[in-house]
Symmetry: C2
């Protein structure tokens, strides 16, 4: 398909309440705002329909899951069609009885379901009990061909794995979207909060550098105390876009809802990849052991 | 073997003249300085014996190559033995008639050759014509077991490849040494110099983060005009050590010879890897396509 030299993306950094219908309504409003400001591909944060429920393990919370297609994809698909844009909608997916994924749906300009990605790398840390809820993704790493660009999609914990970024880049992605839900434990924020946020941005900037493509990371904000008696998670926002040499070209606040609208210039990717030809020099015949857990 | 909780490393950031004997003599002096300040593992910059000759393609320059073992390893091996330390000595290796590598020798506390590593990823850019000089390494990725620590060694251009860092980490490295020769083209320094140096440090900090280990990068300094009429390369120094969460714990200047002596605390690696268990969650069964050049 014929594409222009530039395209515009929108990153919706939002806070979620306990009202899942209101979250959907507000997400749709933010998508409209992004489109109104020129965005043609708009990405929402990880599992935007609800608060980050993985703060505890509770089988009742599987009620939050929905099918794909389902209510969220119908609602946002209609918005995508009306506005003639692509929407990346991260959802808690109910696939079968007792089988759930941390997924995202890509909704196209005709409102159609372009495809889904299921989070491949599943964390499990205090207050991020994801291994309880989510079956690891079985669709592999994905690129979706939209009218604007070939977009790669990954989700949150995936962002710590160079392998995921590389495999998505090798499939032809021009940009990686990382919808995310990451924040501080208030009890340790003062001591380690700055280094955590910096490491998080650094490794994603490095994916941009290693692969010569854009990276757009879309986080939620807000202090969610999901369990009574806990001090919850303070989601750190800081959604950003890095260019193919890791330069941060747009960045949101740590604590406010914001829609970042950013123009992406393909010429920058062409320039960086010509001058830093990492993809030329990979020693693929020596990479077989990457399929090992450890080389004892 | 029994090891203490901490060990001390030395990074020699030096400038090279056209006098290869003087470079060796000065390198030995810097190693002595590092050891005198407590370093037990000392790393020299990439191909420290000479100026960075890859600025032009000239078969006469193969005369700069030497065998391993050879004069440099004999000289530095004797220093290592005298001081009871490990020395990482990067050399232009003559392996056979017409076969040369960009290598490094690890010299042990008895002066012995512990082993060699041959640069796996070979660049070729204006004034960095390495594909002309160096046969790509055929020893794979390496870890050396020294009395102080299990050290991984990579060389310069390797630092842009997450695969090299990962494979070395999976072999048990606690720290990655990256002897380097990277600098600015004076004609573009003002425009892109800052972003180049930042990308270089960012991607190496990301290797530390992704793999939960220390990274020590050892660059040369000095403005070397190797070809008459060219404006040469201004090597940017900036040697540094990053901890297992990517925090820079020591850093040299951009333009002066310096010996960085840095204490490494194993407890930090234990702490980071327990709290950020990336190695637990790799999806190794889905990484096979990393052995492909591109996934068309």
């Amino acid at each position: 398909m014929s594409r222009s030299d530039k395209y515009t993306i929108g990153l919706v950094q939002m806070a979620m309440s306990a009202d899942i219908e209101d979250n959907l309504k507000r997400a749709a409003e933010f998508v409209r705002e992004a489109a109104g400001r020129g965005a043609k591909i708009v990405c929402l944060p990880e599992m935007f329909r609800s608060q980050y429920f993985c703060q505890r393990e509770d089988v009742e919370l599987f009620n939050l899951a929905e099918t794909i297609p389902g209510k969220s994809t119908m609602t946002l698909g209609a918005v995508a069609k009306e506005l003639k844009i692509t929407v990346v909608a991260p959802l808690f997916e109910r696939r079968a009885v007792g089988m759930h994924h941390n997924s995202l749906a890509v909704l196209g300009e005709e409102g159609e379901l372009v495809g889904i990605y299921r989070k491949m790398h599943i964390p499990d840390d205090p207050a991020y009990y994801e291994k309880f809820y989510f079956t690891p993704g079985d669709l592999g790493f994905k690129v979706f061909h939209t009218p604007q660009a070939d977009i790669g999609t990954l989700i949150c914990w995936d962002q710590w794995f160079p392998e995921g970024a590389r495999l998505t880049a090798l499939r032809g992605a021009e940009i990686l979207f990382y919808p995310t839900a990451i924040g501080w434990h208030p009890y340790e924020k003062e001591e380690v909060g700055a280094s955590q946020q910096d490491a998080w941005q650094t490794i994603q900037r490095a994916h941009a550098i290693a692969n010569g493509l854009f990276v757009a990371s879309v986080n939620r904000v807000g202090h969610e105390v999901f369990n009574e008696g806990s001090d919850g998670i303070q989601f750190w926002g800081h959604s950003f876009v890095a260019d193919p040499f890791g330069v941060v070209i747009a960045q949101a606040s740590d604590d406010r809802e914001e829609v970042l609208v950013v123009e992406i210039d393909r010429a920058r990717m062409e320039d960086v990849r010509r001058n830093w030809q990492f993809l030329r020099d990979r020693r693929i015949e020596n990479y077989g052991d990457l399929q090992k857990r450890f080389i004892d």
